[in-house]
């Protein structure tokens, strides 16, 4: 049998279904792979000691006929998600060793579906960053080039997939934390419609922007995982109560002949190239558009003038909400506690704990957000940013009059070298130029590989966005393009990655 770690989840599920392989075998193969390569990649912060035990239980359930679908397939979980049986640190020292008394809804749903948690993956502290360099627990390395960043904040989940340490992973996306890592590691990342997947048990960064979603190696796998984790959750008030179609079915539909015929693909002129975009990224983007056009899609140009203010608005709204969400880390009830010498007051203990427990980027954004919400500045900063948000939503609405989906490069560049931007926050922020608008508007966005940049041979991603609740369209167009590209490449892009 071929190496189990190279197979997509859809094929592993088929093998499990046919009784050709056990979950224990699959899980062990991935644990072995982690043991072999994670020393170099450092995708995982914690490996689940009970993975084999869980796999055994799923095998028994499959034998008893009570498990199907993805049951028995392993999954890596971004450390932003609460897990009953593993520490959940959100990449921060302030939560070192904290084991929550509950599972995030998405984790509970995966367990119920029989997926086998492999462990928790590295991330920028509290999901603040685009390179995973802001993790309190060390850098994750891009499997394509270990000297480069794996993207962020969910660099651990993306790297785990690209290094074949896990067939499926969960991420969270506040401004691109699923899609940008997918883009720079040659994997697939989906940010669902805001409210499409429960946020309960996801350690909040910016509540109005955060969305949990699947990170995988194929579009179909993303659809399969999305079907498991998505849907209404009464524990999240912002969760959409309506029923959703099957996203796996939408992906399968994309692989059928003529699936994109007549589909209007809107190219956002402000995000299609120009300053800040690496030429190789734009080249691959154009190539993908041409393939879609050949397959019968109609390429139209749309304009979204307000998108130029997206990063500015985002870096007011996000820190404002984050400053409030992170106030709970005060040492009183959980997590780190630092007690200064002498006779400290409760305020002294809180300050010392936050001083020691938070990293620089987190402190920077807390200070920024506190300022943006201050009396006298609220209207000028937070208030204005919310107005920009409304304008961006209107731009999306106008664009979706002309197009069924919008397309942009997923990130302006390929993976940059570790350490090259960590001291330049503004340069780092610009990396989320193309992903942030979807979060501000609450619309879904998917990133899939569109090839390798000619100048550096590193993966490039293409992003599609759809109107809110139309996530299924993204799976259809994504799967269609994936098929067109893979037949050109003669297989998945990751097959071209250097072996570790």
């Amino acid at each position: 049998m071929s190496d189990l770690t190279r197979l997509p989840a859809s094929e592993l599920a088929a093998l499990l279904d046919g009784g050709e392989v056990s979950s224990v075998e699959i899980t062990r193969a991935h644990l072995d792979r982690i043991a072999a390569v994670d020393g170099d990649v450092h995708a995982f912060l914690h490996v689940n000691e009970k993975a084999i035990e869980t796999a055994e239980a799923v095998d028994a359930a499959r034998a008893a006929g009570t498990a199907s679908g993805l049951a028995g397939v392993p999954v890596a979980i971004k450390d932003v998600l609460c897990t009953l049986d593993m520490p959940s640190t959100s990449g921060s020292k302030i939560l070192e060793g904290w084991v929550p008394p509950y599972d995030a809804t998405v984790v509970a749903r995966m367990r119920r579906a029989g997926l086998v948690p492999l462990g928790k993956t590295n991330m920028d502290e509290f999901a603040m960053g685009s390179s995973t360099e802001h993790s309190a627990y060390g850098n994750t390395h891009n499997p394509w080039d270990l000297t480069r960043i794996p993207g962020g904040s969910g660099g651990g989940s993306a790297a785990a997939l690209a290094a074949f340490e896990a067939p499926l992973a969960l991420g969270s996306d506040t401004g691109g934390s699923i899609r940008q890592p997918a883009s720079v590691t040659g994997t697939v990342g989906m940010k669902p419609t805001y409210g499409g997947v429960s946020r309960y048990g996801a350690i909040a960064l910016a509540s109005s922007l955060d969305q949990v979603g699947p990170v995988t190696r194929t579009v179909l796998d993303a659809g399969l995982l999305h079907d498991v984790i998505g849907g209404h959750d009464p524990h999240d008030s912002t969760s959409i109560p309506d029923a959703w179609p099957s996203f796996a079915d939408a992906a399968r539909a994309g692989r059928r002949e003529g699936s994109v015929k007549g589909l209007r693909v809107g190219v956002v002129s402000e995000l299609a190239g120009g300053e800040g975009f690496q030429p190789g990224v734009v080249e691959r983007f154009q190539e993908s558009l041409a393939l879609l056009e050949e397959a019968g899609a109609e390429i139209v140009e749309v304009s979204a003038p307000s998108f130029q203010y997206a990063i500015a608005a985002y870096y007011l709204i996000l820190p404002a909400e984050a400053s409030s969400n992170l106030a709970k880390f005060d040492s009183v009830r959980f997590g780190l506690r630092v007690t200064p010498d002498g006779q400290p007051t409760v305020e002294d203990v809180m300050s010392a704990t936050r001083e020691a427990g938070f990293g620089d980027e987190v402190k920077r954004r807390i200070i920024l957000g506190t300022y943006a919400l201050s009396a006298g500045y609220y209207d000028a900063y937070y208030g204005s940013a919310q107005k920009v948000r409304t304008l961006i939503q209107r731009d999306f609405a106008a664009a979706f009059e002309k197009a069924d989906v919008l397309a942009t490069p997923s990130a302006p560049t390929t993976a940059f070298p570790l350490g090259s931007k960590v001291d330049d926050p503004l340069a780092m922020y610009l990396n989320d130029l193309t992903t942030i608008p979807a979060n501000l508007a609450g619309v879904p966005g998917i990133s899939l590989p569109s090839g390798l940049a000619s100048e550096d041979g590193l993966p490039v991603g293409i992003q599609f966005m759809a109107p809110a609740r139309e996530d299924a369209r993204l799976y259809t167009v994504g799967a269609a393009l994936e098929q067109l590209l893979e037949s050109r490449w003669g297989g998945p892009l990751l097959a071209q990655a250097p072996s570790l």
Binding site: G201, D236, T238
Partner: protein
């Protein structure tokens, strides 16, 4: 702490016009909390749970937890808003009020800021002499309560000087409605009375609505009283103080009076009032300075992104409006008629804040006149000596039982007072106290006749006097018998027996 100078109340009113404002927090008695399915300690029977047992991850502000609005709390809030004569917002929003304090698990409180659920109302209150007075209502908004801190090791029970503090998060997340009045003008020398009558009206209202246990001593109802003075003839409002912890009707009255007298003394001496929160000390009857409070307190309010706007349907609002209990004035007329009280009798009950108690006592089977007599008499007297509210001391059910024991002849009024004392001391229900203290009336005529014989032996001329028509002479024998029986005899029966003896011989 020396008592500051106080100006004579009448003199203060001559020089200054008092302007009042009240913030009343009402804990709703829903089964679960405002934003989580934790049991609500303010629900019936929920009081007194062991610390940190009525909690969920949200009550502790654990990472990843999220709030979900309790729909029942929304309904209760709408009902209260309607009873306050307010408009109900078709869409209102929760906001985060950000500040660090160890009893606030998330370090922000979910409250309503610029978009309250109810606004622009008014409440009619009735003063002691029956005059009506209108309190203008600014808004009623929903929020969550904080946990409770107990400061240990200090002498004052306050955070300063304490060695350590204990936090109980049971109360964290209890649903609250905060009712904020507009500035209240025109109360003049009745300002203290207006305060008391307002809070008592709110209590009666929430009890009638069935949305709160409304026990002030348990913190179900909490009042902050704002007082400012302006010199007569001045348009501009004076600087106000906000007195916290005013948690009984009587305290509201006393605290308002105290603040008027204190502020007047300062202003008349050329001083200025500091805008601050002040603490009310029930024991000493004074307020003391708390935290300076400026309008610049920065809570960095912003709309709560974890919750959707509250958008009650017009149908729901109308349904709740139709289910409102009768208006207080209508209710008062109905009760007075049903009980057959004179205006004066009824006003006595109402002014003592005992309408609900009498109503419930009557509902439990007591005669209205008896219920009134016990509540406004003995129970009010004991409450007064203990600086407590009558309702805190004894339940209407027990008072009704006490009255039944009198009616059946098992207790005399005098014995009943002792039984009441036992009930208040927590010795059980009246019948249990009667049993335990052995207070039952001696209804055995044989024992009474023996005592009468003994008394007559000491005062042999009494029978003669009675036969001569001096019936009042029996009093001396009755007194002696009652003394011998340690009060546990029915004086009327003793009298009957004495008279029988006189006429029978």
């Amino acid at each position: 702490m020396p008592k500051p100078d106080l100006m004579d109340f009448d003199k203060a009113l001559e020089l200054f016009e008092p302007v009042l404002g009240f913030e009343v927090h009402v804990e709703l008695s829903t089964a679960t909390k405002m934003f989580s399915d934790a049991p609500n300690p303010a629900a019936p029977g929920g009081f007194g749970a062991a610390p940190n047992t009525q909690i969920t991850p949200l009550c502790l502000g654990l990472p990843g937890s999220l709030p979900v609005v309790n729909e029942k709390a929304i309904e209760y809030s709408i009902s209260l808003g309607l009873a306050l004569g307010c408009q109900i917002a078709p869409s209102s929003r929760f906001a985060r009020k950000n500040y660090f304090y160890p009893d606030l698990a998330k370090n922000y409180q979910i409250s309503q800021y610029d978009e309250p659920i109810a606004f622009e109302g008014s409440v009619e209150i009735e003063l002691e002499d029956g005059t009506a007075f209108t309190i203008p209502i600014e808004r009623a908004h929903m929020e969550e309560d904080a946990g409770k801190l107990t400061h240990m090791g200090g002498s004052t029970g306050r955070i300063h000087g304490a060695e350590y503090s204990l936090v109980d998060y049971n109360r964290a997340g209890v649903p609250l409605v905060e009712i904020v009045t507009k500035p209240i003008f025109g109360a003049e020398h009745r300002a203290p009375e207006v305060g008391k009558a307002y809070v008592s009206t709110i209590r009666d209202m929430v009890r009638a609505l069935g949305i709160s246990e409304a026990r002030m001593e348990r913190g179900n109802l909490r009042c902050d009283a704002n007082v400012s003075l302006r010199p007569r003839g001045q348009e501009k409002l004076g600087t106000r103080t906000e007195t916290k912890n005013v948690n009984s009707f009587r305290s509201v009255e006393r605290a308002v009076r105290y603040e008027i007298q204190r502020q007047a003394a300062i202003l008349a001496a050329g001083g200025t009032i500091t805008q601050e929160t002040r603490h009310w000390h029930e024991d000493r009857g004074v307020t003391s300075a708390g935290r300076p409070k400026s309008d610049a307190d920065d809570y960095r309010y912003f709309p709560e992104p974890d919750l959707l706007p509250v958008e009650p349907s017009p149908e729901l609002i109308e349904q709740l409006r139709a289910a409102l209990p009768e208006a207080p004035a209508v209710r008062r007329r109905r009760l007075q008629e049903a009980w057959g009280f004179t205006d004066l009798e009824f006003r006595d009950v109402k002014n003592a804040g005992l309408l609900v108690e009498v109503e419930e006592t009557v509902a439990a089977g007591a005669a209205p006149a008896q219920a009134r007599k016990w509540w406004t008499g003995e129970i009010a007297r004991i409450a007064n000596t203990r600086s407590a509210e009558p309702a805190e001391l004894v339940s209407p059910l027990h008072v009704s039982e006490l009255i039944a024991l009198i009616e059946s002849g098992d207790l005399t009024d005098r014995l009943a007072r002792q039984v009441l004392e036992g009930v208040i001391e927590g010795e059980g229900r009246p019948s249990e106290v009667v049993e335990a203290r052995g207070l039952k009336v001696v209804s055995d005529d044989g024992a009474l006749i023996a005592a009468i014989d003994e008394a007559l032996a000491a005062q042999p001329d009494v029978l003669e006097k009675i036969r001569d028509g001096k019936v009042q002479a029996a009093g001396a024998v009755i007194g002696a018998v009652m003394k011998a029986m340690r009060g546990q005899a029915d004086a009327a029966r003793v009298r009957e027996l004495v008279l029988e003896r006189a006429t029978g011989e």
